[in-house]
């Protein structure tokens, strides 16, 4: 039983100018974004950036201070009951009752989520198998390991096959093997359901998500696919070069190969003998691969010996740090007089 969204053309989520303040202190400050159907969106941000608050507003659990949130075209504020039927939500820290059995709990949740009784036991078996919980289905939740508890939370979120799934830090506290299972699980939902996950584990987000939204201090600081974000925030492509020999001639050699090539950071004079290899970072403004040109140039240059060349792949972590740093600079620059 897949609940069909009422409006066929509306995007899964539309958030416009959302503001949420706790006792006058803004946690979310004028956020706008939209998520298309079937998209997997990663929600990134440092602690206290407003990720959980935004997710809670999306589910209708918290009311917004101002702004509009629509889920499949339905405004959450006025039609919360219908919206709740379209969402599977796993809150931060995955709260579960301690004294129930896994299958008991999922059955109860299924009833609350209005899965028909006839369908429920079949669906329960499906979900248990999908989340690799079949072995522990009769165990008491309070006695489960953290990984199993986490998967019970995920099973609960996808139980009623809602078209939209919101998970707040689903991989927190899991070991690499379990993270792999969760990743597969999310990958299997691709196309069928729209998924929003928040996480601190950036490689995780990079691997599973189509699009990333970085928020900091209650504002969207960056959004786009991981590749696009890389271009936007780190701009140039970088190469790692391992050379020995006459370092003083190196900048000239590089500039001769391609005018935009330069060392970053600039070469520091080093007292040790010219025979040792040093790892240097070379950056360029050009997008295309200059690896071969550099390598040929190095080999041809007199007095330089090259041992290795590698194109440096900036990770999402770099993007994240750059994006949040930039927003901090902006915010701090604007508000410094009040802060001090």
């Amino acid at each position: 039983m897949t609940v069909s969204p009422p409006d066929e053309s509306a995007p899964a989520i539309e958030v416009s100018h959302l503001v949420k303040a706790y006792n006058g202190i803004p946690a979310v400050n004028d956020i706008s974004f939209s998520v298309g159907r079937g998209e997997i969106l990663g929600f990134l941000g440092p602690n206290g950036a407003g990720k959980s608050t935004t997710m809670r507003i999306l589910t209708g659990y918290l009311p917004a201070t101002s702004g509009a949130v629509r889920v499949f075209g339905l405004p959450v504020a006025s039609r919360g009951e219908e919206v709740k039927r379209l969402i599977g939500y796993m809150p931060e820290n995955n709260p579960l009752p301690e004294d129930m059995r896994v299958s008991e709990y999922l059955y109860y949740r299924g009833r609350l989520k209005e899965v028909p009784r006839s369908r429920l036991s079949v669906r329960l078996d499906e979900v248990l198998a999908l989340c690799d919980l079949t072995r522990v289905r009769h165990r008491i939740i309070g006695q489960l390991s953290k990984g199993n508890r986490q998967r019970v939370g995920i099973a609960e979120a996808i139980l009623a096959e809602p078209p939209l799934i919101i998970m707040d830090e689903p991989t927190i506290g899991l070991d690499p093997h379990q993270i792999l299972i969760v990743r597969d699980l999310i990958a299997r939902l691709r196309g069928r359901m729209t998924v929003i996950i928040s996480s601190h584990i950036l490689p995780e987000i990079e691997m599973t998500c189509d699009r990333v939204l970085i928020i900091n201090r209650g504002q969207v600081v960056a959004q786009g696919s991981p590749a696009a974000l890389r271009r936007e925030f780190l701009g140039r492509s970088a190469y790692e070069l391992e050379v020995a020999g006459d370092f003083a001639a190196l900048p000239a050699v590089l500039a001769h190969l391609e005018p935009s090539l330069r060392l970053d950071p600039p070469l520091a004079p080093e007292p040790d003998s010219p025979g040792t290899f040093r790892r240097l970072r070379v950056v360029t403004d050009r997008e295309d691969d200059l690896g071969e040109i550099i390598l040929r140039g190095m080999v041809a240059a007199p007095g330089l010996r090259v041992r290795g060349l590698r194109r440096a792949e900036p990770s999402l972590e770099d993007v994240f740090l750059a994006a949040t740093q930039r927003s901090w600079d902006v915010v701090d620059g604007a508000t410094r007089p009040d802060v001090r």
Binding site: E81, K84, P95, P97, D99, R109, E114
Partner: protein, 253 residues
């Protein structure tokens, strides 16, 4: 209201598998058993005018003070502390259904425990073989009083639980509310200050809310609709405040 029975069913099951329920039940039956034995002993020593059932129900406050907080303190406070209130309220369930479900389960257990004291009277009748000891009127009146007043007592407990995320605070809150209602109001009723002419309306209102007076009337077989209304309206009010309590906590994080 379609989820009310799902929640009620679940809550009753959880209460029935929880060890604390059985501890409370044993405590309750032990205390009421001692009370009952004490009454019988005094009856065997000297002849009394009232029926043992009427005297027995005079002690209703004793279990109410400790049982009701024990039964209700967990219901909303624990859900909030664990965070399961968040998962519960993000399903298509309304706050009203949640509060009513919790209330219904606690009330059911309260009635079940009181019903088990019926065994005392059965034993008495069986071994005394004298119908005079177990007069129908006061017995039925007493149980009706328990059932009707229990609605309000449990609702107050649920209300106290809706205000806190700490079970102990909820339990003490429930105890305070019940103590104020049962003992506090009868104390206020006796104050000389209220005998002043200006205080007359307050005096009337306070004497209308005398729980012990209600018990006496019920035991004599007088079912006053004003008293029924007192408990019913009080229950509804307490439940509405519980719903507001849960939602207010949502609004303020």
């Amino acid at each position: 209201m379609r989820h009310f029975f799902t929640i009620l069913n679940q809550e009753i099951r959880m209460l029935l598998v929880s060890p604390s329920t059985y501890i409370a039940a044993v405590l309750f039956l032990a205390i009421m058993g001692f009370v009952f034995t004490g009454i019988l002993e005094s009856y065997s020593a000297t002849p009394q005018e009232t029926s043992p059932a009427a005297v027995f129900f005079q002690y209703f406050w004793l279990p109410v003070f400790f049982m009701v907080p024990l039964l209700t303190m967990k219901c909303l406070a624990e859900e909030r502390r664990l965070g399961t209130l968040e998962t519960l309220l993000t399903t298509p369930v309304t706050t009203t259904e949640v509060v009513l479900g919790k209330f219904g389960a606690a009330y059911f257990l309260y009635l079940l425990l009181w019903a088990s004291t019926g065994g005392f009277f059965y034993v008495l009748q069986h071994f005394a073989g004298d119908a005079r000891f177990v007069e129908r009127g006061p017995l039925i009146g007493g149980y009706v009083f328990i059932a009707v007043s229990g609605l309000l007592f449990i609702a107050l407990g649920v209300f106290a639980s809706s205000l806190s995320r700490n079970q102990a605070v909820a339990g003490i809150g429930a105890f305070t509310l019940l103590f104020g209602l049962i003992s506090g109001l009868s104390f206020v009723d006796g104050m000389a200050l209220l005998d002043l002419e200006v205080m007359r309306p307050i005096k009337e209102a306070v004497s209308y809310a005398q729980v012990f007076q209600h018990l006496e009337d019920f035991s004599r077989g007088i079912v006053d609709t004003r008293q029924l209304l007192f408990y019913l309206s009080g229950t509804i009010l307490a439940l509405i405040f519980s719903i507001l309590g849960v939602e207010a906590k949502l609004l303020h994080g």
